[in-house]
Symmetry: C2
Subunit: 393 residues, 2 copies
């Protein structure tokens, strides 16, 4: 029986990572720029809350950086997804196609709409939703009637799909767009992990009707907690701002609301942190890509495990770096997680697949989720903070 | 015809307010304590996000201050209300009794549960829900079957009531508790505006099964955006933390979730701001109560308008100070709002009554909402920031 060489693996990790750190996290923020200046300005001026110049500024910085026409800062990535789904028209009892391999927020956002997640398989070359497989599946289970897609088995409308760019690696969007056009399904990109990742030269978030970013503390850029909605659609952009600010009708003093909106706006103090973080983003990405390249080299000749690299059509932010065990070593993953964590290097498996959670077990799903299962069994995340790359290593 | 003396009113406001300010807001935060130190510590240590010592600390400070056993810091007051309603068992198609005179968040939180707000009248002596009137109304429309209350007209279960302590003045809770015990209705206190307000010697939030605070930028204490859930019930306290942190099952590295939870935790950087703010709260309340006393004196002899003072059973935080026009001057309110705002003193009417909003028009309601209407027609909020009281004025 083949046995995984844990020592070689730990040494490979150590060869890439800084020597002087006793414990290395999976992902920590770096505050090396104007963070304190901007946050201090909020406190000094009293503008810490929902109105303030840093909210406007972070939205402008996001538009400039991603090239998407509208950015709406919100309280977190889950809120961004929730409102995005509402805005493309997801309603109670609709189905929304979601990869089984994703963070819980993707499926929960669907549930918040009263809709039902419908789980689909992933592609081992991108770690994200598998478009061609989805196309074949829809041919079998779906039909288009009166301009909407319906699930022939459940009778429910399939309103949207949420490709999630796993660990910063873009889904293959072109075939997905084609399939969705054919089946009249709206695309909401879950770009929570892919700020700074490009698909065929364009920033992620351009090919869906609307998309969601996250600035949680473990993300490439953080606002403490936060997120944003991106869209090239003028009307949706306007509605996104309205819905995320309690749908209040503008008036000097009167309080009236014309929709059931949400208290999802980002506070100014969090936006201030984010403005500084975004200034540093290009540097973070350079460092993260170099760190990934070092990992790739260090693992090039280790048997039984490989470092996952970006899809050919993509330039990824390498948000969380990924090792994949060969199938035959799957049984040794827990032991490897234990050994690496014990040696001070934080590692972690991927999320439990959504269709395996008790709360989502009864949702519709593809019969064949084999690639998602393969990835889930073999994957290990390794330390990826932007501060870990040292040019003089 | 009687004409309101606008000049006298503006002069009365000016006699209380600082002279040197060109424009006086309704409510601005004061950052006079450790705000800088604590927030800087977050940035310096990298702990800005969902885990961190200030989240634990603010929860402890809230427990110490209010005397309620458990406090769970969340992303805003709306989120606190939403989860509180879920935790007392509000389900899809239930009805929840809500004052028509409230901020939209109270009604929206009910809607987020898939439940239906049922609007009830307020009491002109508290500005909050009228318990005795509610009792008489329930006698007419409700019946208790198998331990639950049902609306005889709609057939729906009436699961909960949300007394909101308007502008910091407590609802008369004792009769409400009695009525709710009789009718098997759970009480969720909307204490968004009443941090620092006491009902018969106990801090608001003690008499409901669970209650919600807000730390929005306009509140007596701010975290930029934030809120908290308070409860004396151990099991609910534990569940509140679980549900607001995506219902993740604790594990060193594995990601599993046992409920459809929410991403509602408060980021550490916001909690840091709040910890400093809470340290200053006793001083804010002293100042706000003195400011209110000055207003009371200044308006004591002005015809046609009166300053609203705390109910006899309460010690209020006087979050937002209130003037009430005599009925005969209601037609002059818009003109008074214009004149005061034009003179640099921000004033505002109360919110549009919930049952008058298009989105909530078709919800069940009391036939007689006359007190809510009276208050809504006559009320004007005036500047109330803790920094406005000057001891040497």
């Amino acid at each position: 029986m083949a046995i995984l060489n844990q020592i070689k693996i730990i040494n490979a990790l150590k060869s890439v990572l800084p020597k002087e750190m006793e414990r290395i996290s999976l992902h920590e923020p770096s505050f090396i720029g104007n963070e304190w200046n901007y946050v201090k300005e909020c406190i000094d001026t009293g503008w810490v809350s929902s109105v303030g110049k840093f909210v406007d500024r972070i939205e402008k910085q996001l538009v400039d950086y991603t090239g998407v026409k509208h950015a709406i800062a919100v309280v977190n990535g889950t809120a961004a997804l929730h409102v995005s789904l509402i805005l493309v028209g997801v309603e109670k009892n609709d189905e929304v196609l979601v990869p089984s391999l994703t963070f819980i927020a993707t499926a929960n956002a669907v549930s918040y709409c009263g809709a039902i997640p419908h789980f689909v398989d992933s592609d081992e070359s991108t770690l994200g939703l598998a478009p061609h497989k989805l196309g074949a599946y829809l041919k079998e289970i779906a039909e288009v009637r009166n301009g909407s897609c319906f699930n022939k088995k459940t009778g429910r409308r399939i309103k949207a799909v949420v490709p999630m760019h796993t660990f910063g690696h873009p889904v293959d969007m072109d075939p997905l767009v084609e399939i969705c056009n054919q089946y009249k399904i709206e695309i909401v990109e879950d770009a929570a992990e892919s700020l700074g990742s490009y698909y065929k030269g364009k920033h992620t978030g351009h090919l869906g009707k609307i998309s969601a970013l996250s600035f949680n503390g473990n993300k490439i850029v953080t606002t403490g907690g936060g997120g944003a909605i991106l869209t090239n659609d003028d009307a949706l952009g306007k509605l996104a701002k309205h819905l995320t600010t309690t749908a209040k009708v503008p008036h000097q003093w009167a309080y009236s609301h014309d929709q059931i909106g949400f208290n999802y706006r980002m506070p100014n103090i969090n936006a201030a942190l984010g403005c500084a973080q975004l200034e540093s983003l290009p540097g973070y990405i350079l460092n993260k890509r170099k760190l990934a390249e070092n990992y790739r080299k260090a693992f090039a000749n280790i048997e039984g495990i490989r470092f996952f690299t970006e899809p050919t059509f993509a330039k990824s932010n390498y948000w969380l770096n990924v090792l994949l065990l060969d199938k035959k070593f799957v049984g040794e993953r827990e032991s490897l997680l234990e050994a690496t964590n014990k040696s001070g290097i934080m590692t972690r498996p991927v999320w439990t697949l959504m269709h395996e959670l008790e709360i989502y077990k009864s949702c519709p799903k593809m019969d064949d989720l084999s690639s998602a299962k393969n990835i889930a069994e073999c994957l290990i995340n390794i330390p990826s903070s932007p501060g870990l790359f040292r040019s003089n290593d």
